[in-house]
């Protein structure tokens, strides 16, 4: 069996048994990345030299008996909004095109402690603002299942890298669906944990009250293992929560007997693609046959989640992104007159259109005279949305629905109408507002071969229930990671893509 065929846990086991060396694993993933990148563009930075050095060091620790965990030696990728000391961290923005952090994000440190080999940093929507990975300054990422389509976003690079087997698992971040929606589009498993479960220290902030780091993997077992590795209570993040139980892999049980699952009617109605609806209902049926009690119910308030989210997230973004001013790091414009004009020129040249749009909206809703009517109103609606979920979880162990209303749209079809793009987040966004855990797992494909994901939403701290249900579904359907069709065989790039040109752009921008 080829190395790339293994899941992260299978590979980790082979490494522990000395059947595969850490260097061999890293070389296999790097070779696949080099073959796939011209077509997919998952990575902003691929670091072969650094990865091989890490691999040798981790091998030494394994051989010395210092490292024996399930992810030791497994090659992974990290979304480019998480700081790694000394390594370019761009947030897929021009304004951070030359930024090398002086410290490493806690979630990445935890992954390093578990012995993972970090291959590089993955592409994303600029500052995580977007649902397609097309707002990246370094060119869009393509969906490995069909390169004419987007991978989703904003963690599109991480999801595409896993789907294209350019790594064995990745970290993403999720502010309004940015792990779950691209996982659904790319046919991989992705989880956004309960707010505060993974430290945000070193995650470049977008909407601080909503941002949460989570794993993106080939299957549910890997998801649990990565989650177990990255979660911790961190005094450096004041919103970090001390959990009683971090043993997420214990939840990998093939059993949902008696589990109460609610399907919101308001998630299955107007606007939902027919094939997505069918696939999600089939998945619900599978869980029902395994003993879960499945019923439909009215969640309520669904259509208010998006306007509340864009008010709150934009407000927080306008404040968080004030720090990018060309003084201490990152890009600085040339030809300014004074300090204020330097700020303005730097930010105007450094940020892309979608980022500017959200900074302006956020500045407006926070401004004197509008703060109560917009910002506080949205926070009141957030309280109502949280209450609607509280009511649902009095009756159900979890909520099941689609992760997105459609499968992956074609490249270039979303950005012309931002409001339409925002509507694609309708099933994921309220989960962030309420701080809940949510995961997406693949449940089939549409007639074009594009993956469909189901979303499982739990009450706060109930990740284990989600993992158990998703694992049971996997066992019942004998579902395994499905490699992307376009990259099967040699991993050669399909003809007629312009990926190579974009890679050059990224490199030029790095050198600038």
């Amino acid at each position: 069996m080829e190395i790339l065929e293994f899941t992260a846990l299978e590979l980790g086991e082979k490494i522990q048994r000395r059947e595969i060396s850490v260097r061999e694993a890293a070389q296999a993933a790097l070779a696949q990345a080099e073959a796939a990148e011209p077509a997919i563009n998952s990575y902003v930075t691929l670091d072969p030299e650094g990865a091989l050095a890490q691999a040798d060091e981790i091998q030494r620790k394994i051989d010395a008996g210092e490292l024996a965990g399930p992810l030791a030696g497994v090659p992974v990728a990290v979304k480019d909004n998480m700081c790694i000391k000394g390594q370019l961290t761009t947030c897929s923005s021009k304004i951070l095109s030359n930024f090398k952090p002086v410290y490493t994000a806690e979630a990445v440190l935890n992954l390093q402690k578990a012995g993972a080999v970090i291959l590089g940093k993955t592409n994303m929507d600029e500052f995580a603002m977007g649902s397609t990975t097309e707002t990246s300054y370094y060119g869009p990422t393509k969906n490995p299942h069909n390169t004419a389509h987007v991978p989703g976003g904003s963690s599109g690079g991480s999801c595409a890298a896993v789907a294209a087997r350019e790594c064995f698992g990745a970290l993403g971040s999720d502010t309004g669906g940015s792990i779950r929606q691209p996982s659904s589009f790319c046919g991989v498993v992705g989880m956004k944990p309960t707010y505060g479960t993974v430290s945000r220290y070193g995650l470049i902030a977008y909407g601080s009250s909503l941002d949460q780091i989570g794993p993106i993997t080939k299957d549910v077992s890997d998801c649990a293992a990565f989650l177990e590795a990255i979660t911790s209570h961190d005094p450096k993040d004041s919103t970090s929560i001390r959990r009683e139980d971090y043993r997420f892999t214990e939840a990998l049980q093939d059993d949902v007997k008696g589990m109460r699952i609610g399907i919101p009617r308001d998630y299955m109605g107007e606007g939902l693609d027919g094939e997505v609806r069918e696939a999600v209902m089939r998945a619900a049926k599978v869980l029902e046959e395994k003993g879960a009690v499945v019923e439909e119910f009215d969640l309520g308030l669904v259509k208010y989640a998006i306007p509340a989210y864009y008010t709150i997230a934009s407000a927080e973004a306008s404040s968080n992104l004030e720090r990018f001013d060309g003084v201490k790091y990152g890009y600085r414009a040339a030809g300014y007159e004074d300090l204020h004009s330097m700020y303005k020129k730097t930010r105007s040249e450094g940020f892309g259109a979608e980022v500017k749009r959200r900074i302006m909206l956020g500045s407006f809703v926070l401004s004197s005279g509008y703060y109560d009517a917009y910002y506080l109103k949205a926070l009141r609606v957030k309280a109502l949305i949280k209450k609607a979920f509280d009511n649902a979880f009095e009756k159900y162990d979890m909520i099941l629905g689609p992760a997105a209303p459609t499968t992956a749209p074609e490249l270039g079809s979303s950005l012309s109408d931002p409001l339409k793009m925002y509507l694609g987040d309708i099933y994921t966004i309220s989960v962030n507002l309420a701080g809940l855990p949510g995961m997406s797992a693949p449940v089939g494909k549409d007639h074009r071969g594009l993956p469909i994901g189901m979303q499982l939403i739990g009450n706060v701290f109930q990740e284990k229930k989600l993992l158990r249900a998703a694992y049971t579904y996997e066992c019942a359907t004998e579902k395994q990671f499905e490699r992307a069709a376009e990259l099967s065989g040699t991993g050669a790039a399909p003809a007629g893509t312009d990926g190579a040109g974009q890679e050059d752009t990224a490199k030029e921008a790095h050198q600038a």
Binding site: V102, Y310, E322, V327, K328, H340, S348, S367, L419
Partner: protein, 97 residues
Amino acid sequence: MANRISDETIEYVGILAKLELSDSEKEAAKADMEKMLDYIDTLNELDTTGIEPMSHVFQVSNVFREDVVTNGDSREEMLANAPQRKDDSFEVPRTIG
């Protein structure tokens, strides 16, 4: 009710956001913002009288710790990122007179 963003408002937002916008960017920003605010106005369909604004889903207040330095001196590493530096400082354009 359709929102109308005046030239003065977009000018003001540009100052708050520290962004320099060309005339065409200003027009586009006005149109975008009017559309978004119309959409956000749907929140007014909900009666939120007596509902407290929820800024955080968990009941957490300030988290304090002792003010003890735990990191080392990384002055050089930080200055290495500076767009412009002068000796041991970040350099910016003159700010007063």
